[in-house]
Amino acid sequence: MLDPELLELAPAAPRRSGVRRLVRQWTFMVPAAVIAVLLVVSLFPSVFAGIFGNGDPRVCDLYRSAGNPTAGHPFGFDTQGCDVYANVVYGARSSIVVGLTATAISVSIALILGVIAGFFGGGFDQVVSRLTDIFLGFPFILGAVVVLNSVGSRNALSVSVVLGIFGWPTMARLVRGSVRSVAGLDYVLAATTMGLSRLRIITRYVLPNAISPVLIFATISIGVVIVAESTLTYLGVGLAPPAISWGLQIAAGSRHFQTSPHMLLYPSIFLAITVLCVIVFGEGLRAAFDPRRHQ
């Protein structure tokens, strides 16, 4: 009988060289640092919101409606007289929660369907591929608009689920492709001959070597989801008050842009920087782990 140790000879995902290269690039490290800060901010918003002494986004003073930035309120006030800085800080959480949750849902669906299509092939592949075609048939956010329009309660969870349900097709294709290229390799054949269960082969030997392209794509997709959430919210089918989100702040701010631009500018800048960093970070990963660039 074959020695199980032999299986450890399975090709490892190309990790080391890529990481070392990445750490040396500021175009990767700066976005990575910004994302790390944003994650900490969204975990502990109260700490960061309180820096200027007015950390509660729900403490509002209508006398200061749409007021300009002053001491203690560096970003000014919104129409309700709430501190824009505190709201922007708390808004990071909505964007990041929706971005991560929706992408996690997309990746899970993509992994399950992609493995089924790529590993089992045949009829499974046909069904999954047609399902993928169908979901690719929904342009950008229109599918989400239709579904969210008929969902009664719109909150971070329902918006994430809907965006997740429409976000998986491209990733499923990626998984299917890489699973197919791995499934025919010798070490998978060796595992099969050894009589390992299919589940074990998939989880231990196929997925680890097929997962990096989809995870890299998923990183970029977090940025796309954050934009989609804010667009849906702006349109009026995304998050709704009393939720605190950049999309809501931008929607409110764009109505008063001429008189009080600060209400639109600050949440927009934070949203744009977040998306930019997530996408550049993802692109950096892609460039570092793209096998074609190693040649």
Partner: protein, 314 residues
């Protein structure tokens, strides 16, 4: 095998896929609207409470008393007759949209042409100046432009060019094409620039180091002829594939921009319907836009295959 047969086969396969996708997409929309929790009849009534007898009558009228698959078939039958439902006042969504299509098509095409011209030019410049500050600067600008959400970009450019500088109309279509369309089209095009220019740059960089370029140089052809005739034509394929599918997205994806710039197109109808909670109109218009996207992508694909003989073999 003749090229004509290959083309016919590919078109046939594409139309077959379209039929499956069409059934799937409409079924998902149908499920989303009528089978998800939430009562379409109550939604139809808006905020006012309805009498039970009226609810019953409406249930029968909209086939809600039938099993779900029969309901779907009835809905599909309606779609084939151009019936996209009606709004709260009883006007059909189809007729509401009819007069608005020209605006949306004009906007999408203007944006698309801008994306083609500017995106390809940027990609070409980047490829020719590969590795210079100009190359990196253009990359940074296009990526940045694609990360700012369209509704932020829309409001900012509206203020800059419309209100502050007064060069272009702020909103509406009173000034007709092109003046009223330039600004909104620019916002839409800015978003797509990064993808187009990146594809063009990549393909051109690859092609510039290809053997046929060296052969051309060896034969003594000038840089202008090599780049302008051979490299350019061979490099257009990846970007044109993207641009082809993008046209379909543009036709369906102008919702936010039409709303911001108050252009009376189909997207604006959807924008308003969402804000006024006109549920049936939202569904009808979205369905129409999704179907237009599907049909456009197939049409564009067929044209694309017609133009590029190599795709026929696939």
């Amino acid at each position: 095998m003749g090229a004509g047969l290959g083309l016919a086969l590919r078109i046939g396969r594409r139309v077959g896929t379209l039929a499956i996708v069409f059934l799937g997409v409409t079924f998902i929309i149908y499920i989303a609207v009528y089978a998800l929790p939430g009562d379409p009849i109550r939604a139809l009534a808006g905020d006012r409470p309805l009498d039970e007898s009226i609810v019953e009558a409406l249930r029968v009228k909209y086939n809600l008393d039938l099993p779900i698959w029969q309901q779907y078939l009835a809905y599909l039958g309606g779609l084939f007759h151009g019936d996209l439902g009606s709004d709260f006042t009883g006007r059909s969504v189809g007729s509401l949209m009819a007069s608005r299509w020209p605006v949306t098509i004009a906007l999408a095409l203007t944006a698309w042409v801008m994306e083609v011209l500017v995106g390809l030019s940027i990609g070409i410049v980047q490829a020719l100046k590969k590795g210079t500050a100009l190359d990196h600067g253009l990359l940074a600008l296009t990526v940045l432009a694609s990360c700012v959400p369209v509704f932020v970009l829309g409001v900012l450019l509206q203020q800059l060019f419309g209100v502050r500088l007064g060069w272009l109309p702020v909103a509406g279509v009173r000034d007709g094409w092109p003046a009223s369309y330039l600004l909104p089209a620019m916002v839409i095009a800015l978003f797509g620039l990064s993808a187009v220019s990146r594809l063009m740059r990549g393909a051109m960089v690859d092609n510039l180091s290809a053997d046929y370029v060296r052969a051309g140089r060896a034969k003594g052809f000038g840089q202008g002829r090599i780049v302008g005739v051979h490299v350019l034509r061979n490099s257009l394929i990846p970007a044109s594939t993207y641009l082809a599918t993008d046209l379909g997205y543009l036709l369906g994806g102008t919702v936010v921009i039409e709303g911001i710039f108050n252009l009376p197109g189909v997207g604006n109808l959807l924008f308003d319907a969402i804000r006024t909670h006109e549920g049936p109109t939202v569904v009808g218009v979205s369905t129409a836009l999704i179907l237009v996207f599907l049909v456009t992508s197939v049409l564009v694909d067929v044209i694309h295959v017609g133009l590029d003989p190599r795709l026929r073999r696939a």
